[in-house]
C-alpha cells in the first residue's frame, strides 16, 4: 500500500483550499460558487477525455460535485482539495466507463465514435494562425484525442493527468492512489502506447501529426 502520508506532505492543503472548505462546511453560498468556478471546467475537460462522451461527462461531473458537497465534512485533509476532487473524478469516470462498456456497448452512437471536439469558436479565435492551419490543428487534435481513447484507460488517465492537466507526479500518485514508481511507469507506457497508436494506425498516423509541427 502506498504511504499516502508522505505524498500528503508534498500535496498538502493550502490556505485557499482551507478557506473554501470552511465555507462549504458552514454552508456559505460564495464557497460553493468559488468551488464550481475553479473546478468545473478542468474536471469536465478531464472527465470528457476519460469517458470519451460529452453527455456522460456532464452526469459524471455532477456526481463528482455532489460527492464533494456531501463529503466535505468527512474530508480529512490528507491531500489538497484539488487532488481530492480529481481523485473522485477519475474514479467516477472509470466507473462510468466500465458501466458503459458492460451495458451499452451495442448502443454506441455515431457521436461517441469521435473524440470530444473542441469548440470551433475557440479555435477560430487564434489570430496567429491561418484558417487552413486552424483546420489542420483541429484535425491533429482529433487524431490525438482518438488515440487517447484507444489506449488502455489506466495509462491514458496517467498521461492526461500529466501532459494535459499538467499535474505533478506526486499529485497524480495521490489521485490514482499508487506509488511514484507506478506513476512514472504508467506515464511512460501511456506515451509509448499513444505514439504506437499514432504511428502504426494507418488512419491516424503520427507522421501526419508530426509533419504539421
Amino acid at each position: 500500500m502506498v504511504n499516502l502520508s508522505i505524498l500528503a506532505d508534498q500535496t498538502g492543503i493550502s490556505e485557499e483550499d482551507a478557506r473554501i472548505l470552511r465555507g462549504l462546511r458552514a454552508g456559505i453560498e460564495a464557497a460553493y460558487e468559488e468551488l464550481i468556478d475553479r473546478y468545473e471546467q478542468p474536471i469536465y475537460s478531464m472527465v470528457c477525455r476519460l469517458t470519451g462522451n460529452q453527455e456522460d461527462a456532464c452526469d459524471v461531473v455532477q456526481n463528482v460535485f455532489l460527492k464533494v458537497f456531501r463529503g466535505v465534512h468527512s474530508f480529512r485533509e490528507h491531500s489538497s482539495l484539488r487532488t481530492w476532487i480529481y481523485r473522485i473524478a477519475v474514479n467516477e469516470a472509470h466507473n462510468r466507463r466500465r458501466w458503459f462498456a458492460r451495458h451499452c456497448r451495442k448502443e454506441i452512437s455515431i457521436e461517441s465514435e469521435g473524440p470530444p471536439q473542441a469548440n470551433p469558436i475557440e479555435c477560430a479565435k487564434d489570430p496567429g494562425r491561418s484558417p487552413y492551419q486552424q483546420v489542420l490543428d483541429r484535425e491533429n487534435r482529433g487524431l490525438v484525442e482518438q488515440a487517447l481513447r484507444r489506449i488502455n484507460p489506466v495509462f491514458s488517465a496517467a498521461v492526461i493527468l500529466r501532459d494535459v492537466e499538467n499535474l505533478s507526479y506526486e499529485e497524480i500518485a495521490a489521485i490514482l492512489q499508487v506509488s511514484l514508481g507506478t506513476v512514472k511507469s504508467r506515464i511512460q507506457r501511456g506515451r509509448e502506447a499513444l505514439r504506437h497508436e499514432l504511428t502504426q494506425q494507418p488512419d491516424s498516423g503520427l507522421a501526419e501529426v508530426m509533419a504539421y509541427q
Binding site: E29, E40, Q54, Q62, K67, V144, Q188, L198
Partner: protein, 223 residues
C-alpha cells in the same frame, strides 16, 4: 551512458525530474546518438501535442445543474447545522445511494422481466394442464397397407390393444416374453406401430369395446 540507460530515464528527463548531473549525462548521450535523439524528439512532440489539446468547455446547462445541487446541499447544511447525527446520517445515505445506484437498472430490469415471464406463463400453464388428453402414438393405415414395423423381436411380444365401440384403438401395451411392460418413451418411439382399423364388434346389435391381444414370436431359421 548507453542507449538503454537513456531510454530508462526518458520519462523523467522529459518531465524535468532528473538531477543536474543525470540530466547532463542524458543530454550528452542525445547529442552523440541519432536514434535516441529521434526517439526523444518524437515523444517530446507528442507531449507538446497533448499540452496543446483544447480546453473543453462545459455546456451552460451543467453550470445551472451544479448551482441547483449546490443550493440544495447548502440548504441541507443549514438545516443540519451543528447536528452531528444528521451529518452522519447524510454521509451513510450518500454511501448507500452510491452503492445502490449501479444495481438499480439491472434489478428493475430483472423484476420487470420476471413479472412479464410469469404473467405469460401463468396463462399457458393453466390452459395446458386442463387441455391435456391421453395421446397414444398410433398411426392408422388402410387394411391392405397395414403392417407391424419395426418391432425388434428378440423374444415373444404380446401387443394388447383396447378398442372402442367404433373399432378405434384407444390404448395399447407391448409386453415382451418376461411379461414386463415395454413402454418406455424411447421404446414407444422406436415401435412406431402402424395398424389397420378394426371392424366394430356388435353385441346385441350394439357396438362394444374390447381388448385384442396380438402375439409376435420371432422365427429363427437354421441352415
Amino acid at each position: 551512458m548507453t542507449c538503454w540507460g537513456a531510454k530508462r530515464q526518458k520519462t523523467e528527463y522529459m518531465d524535468g525530474r532528473l538531477r543536474d548531473k543525470e540530466r547532463s549525462r542524458v543530454k550528452a548521450h542525445l547529442e552523440n546518438c541519432d536514434p535516441c535523439f529521434a526517439d526523444f524528439d518524437e515523444v517530446s512532440m507528442l507531449r507538446l501535442k497533448l499540452q496543446n489539446l483544447a480546453k473543453l468547455t462545459p455546456p451552460k446547462s451543467l453550470r445551472t445543474d451544479l448551482r441547483v445541487d449546490a443550493s440544495r446541499e447548502q440548504k441541507a447544511v443549514a438545516e443540519s447545522h451543528g447536528s452531528r447525527i444528521e451529518r452522519i446520517w447524510r454521509r451513510w445515505k450518500t454511501r448507500l445511494d452510491d452503492f445502490m445506484r449501479p444495481l438499480t437498472i439491472p434489478a428493475t430490469g430483472g423484476l420487470l422481466s420476471s413479472i412479464m415471464l410469469f404473467g405469460v406463463l401463468g396463462f399457458t400453464i393453466g390452459r395446458t394442464t386442463r387441455g391435456v388428453t391421453y395421446e397414444v402414438p398410433i398411426l392408422f393405415a388402410e387394411r391392405t397397407d397395414a403392417n407391424l414395423v419395426p418391432v425388434e423381436l428378440r423374444s415373444a411380444v404380446v401387443l394388447t390393444l383396447s378398442l372402442d365401440g367404433s373399432g378405434r384403438i384407444t390404448d395399447y401395451a407391448v409386453r415382451d416374453g418376461s411379461d414386463s411392460f415395454v413402454g418406455s418413451a424411447t421404446r414407444l418411439q422406436y415401435n412406431n406401430i402402424s395398424l389397420p382399423e378394426f371392424p366394430s364388434v356388435l353385441a346385441m346389435t350394439q357396438p362394444i369395446s374390447r381388448d385384442i391381444r396380438i402375439s409376435f414370436t420371432p422365427i429363427v431359421f437354421r441352415r
